[in-house]
Amino acid sequence: MMKKARLEFDAKQDEILEDWLSTLPDDILVNIISRLNLDEAARTSVLSSRWKYLWTFITSLDFDDSELLKSVSEDTIVEERASYINWVNKVLELHRGLSVNEFIISFDLDASHGSTITNWIHTAISKRVQKFELNLLPALCWPPPPGIYTFSQECYDNLKSPHGLSCIKNLRSIYFDTVNVTGEILEFFIYNCPYLDELRVGRSDNLLRLKVVGSLTQLKCLDIDCCSNLEELEISCSSLLSFKYYGPKIKYNIKNVPRLDDVAIGGGTEGHGIGAERVLGPIVSYFPQLKTLELHVDVSEENIQFPQCELPQLRHLTFIVSAHHCNSLLGLTRMMNSCPILQKLTLKLEVFNYCKEITRPPFPNDCHRHLKLVELIGFSGHRVELQLAVYFFGTANVLEEMHIEVEPWEYKLDANIHAARRRAEKLEQVLPPRVKLVIN
């Protein structure tokens, strides 16, 4: 009797030990493998003969190796570039899938690798990519000495062919960084990709003008970052939800954006931040509908002039604060009085130097009735920052949490980080009982 029970138990064990995973249909296994990183995916080829070629049909080709760039030097970069190019080419040579959801290139490459990059673009397009990223941001010096890669005429001609046009129909998201791409090419994508809802462009010297106009486009997010030669931007796009611009002062014309509720604006000394000689331009007329707003502010400039405005829908306000010297951050809270239902305030601090003497502008009557969360990022523990934190303890009567990310912007020494953390922890002593302090 005992023996029989034992046998049954063994049989059950055998059943559990069955290799059910390998019996799943190919598309489920490819779905699983596509969620691994490329190395892990390729390693499945050695599991058994069933698995040998499955990984070559993965739908995600994510060649983002930008982490590695944090540790490269002048001595190693040439070798690292060659090895990156080899890796991408080897994977593409083995890959057999006819369509991919994403194709991501992210590494320090420049004009001298032009023909290789052009080939990758051809491959991505011919695989009917949905999300395409080409990020060539250099790790060591700007601009890269051989020049920035330019989106080639050959690529553009290929896109315009009937085959090219049919291949880009699935594009949903495009991101070019450190790629010289013209307004004409971007507009070609905007008007010929019916599902394109996200377009992000950074550091293109060839972008002079861009027009996003008309009912053909479904664009929801437009992000233009540091395109130093841009002169003119025209937007009239009823689907647009999010607009981010960082760069020099340009002529821009924005109308017919009824769904726009997320905006970020900033720029260099001549840019579109807030402060002397800067303007937000036509964006201000859309302030009443915004739910999130991010502004770059230079607080070392005299007289930060906030526009006369009302932001009745605004939930989340972010200030990216830069300054060469700064004696108080309380001036920033002026704008919050125009935001009656503001729930979240984020400050990213990029301050070179705080003044020894801090000023105490008196705002005793301020009351931020809906503010629940304040985030202070780049916290160094200076009295100017502590003054701001304490100000919110007194004026935000439903505040639930304060998040502090300790990372002094300029000197990231362990001793400085440690000191900043200790000062942040001291805030516990004056913390109202309902507020939770989170220090990271």
Partner: protein
């Protein structure tokens, strides 16, 4: 009054389910639209697996309805709490599946057959998380995959994908 449908599992158990819950399955939705679903809807899914499928669908349904009814006021905290609840529920669901790989396997097939993209994607991610970061020998052991390559063949494949095996 919600419209109810009777689903019949492969081992002849009947499950009474609201139309809204079960219409998440494109396969069943099509059957209903084509008028093929009068009376009991027979499915090639065991009762144990079907119960799990319905558990998932009800949770998803719950989530969509609550989001629709939400007004904007005070949404943030509610949303956060709700997300926490869903996360917690999903973690529990995953833990059960990880402990009983037979159910996980049946559920993968069922989500594919019933055309439930959200469940399929959730389960594929679950298996991917189990495999991620592991070397081939560990994966073989975890899922009892029999290595049918000769040592020479294995060596050749490893060499061909050399970049993937570097530490």
């Amino acid at each position: 009054m919600a419209i109810m449908y009777a689903l019949k599992s492969s081992d002849n158990e009947i499950f009474e389910v609201e139309q809204k819950v079960i219409e998440q399955s494109e396969t069943i939705k099509k059957m209903i639209e084509d008028g093929a679903a009068t009376g009991e809807i027979p499915l090639q899914v065991s009762s144990k697996t079907l119960a799990k499928v319905l558990e998932w669908c009800k949770q998803r349904q719950h989530k969509t309805v609550e989001n629709e009814n939400d007004d904007n006021k005070g949404k943030r905290k509610k949303e956060r709490d709700e997300d926490d609840d869903i996360k917690e529920w999903e973690n529990k669901f995953s833990d059960e599946l990880k402990a009983d790989k037979d159910v996980l396997f049946d559920l993968l097939l069922a989500s594919n057959y019933l055309d439930l993209p959200a469940l399929l994607s959730f389960l594929c991610q679950l298996v991917a998380d189990m495999v991620a970061g592991k070397m081939p020998e560990e994966i073989r052991r975890m899922f009892n995959i029999e290595n049918d390559f000769t040592p020479e063949e294995e060596k050749a494949i490893t060499a061909e994908h050399g970049w993937a095996f570097q530490p």
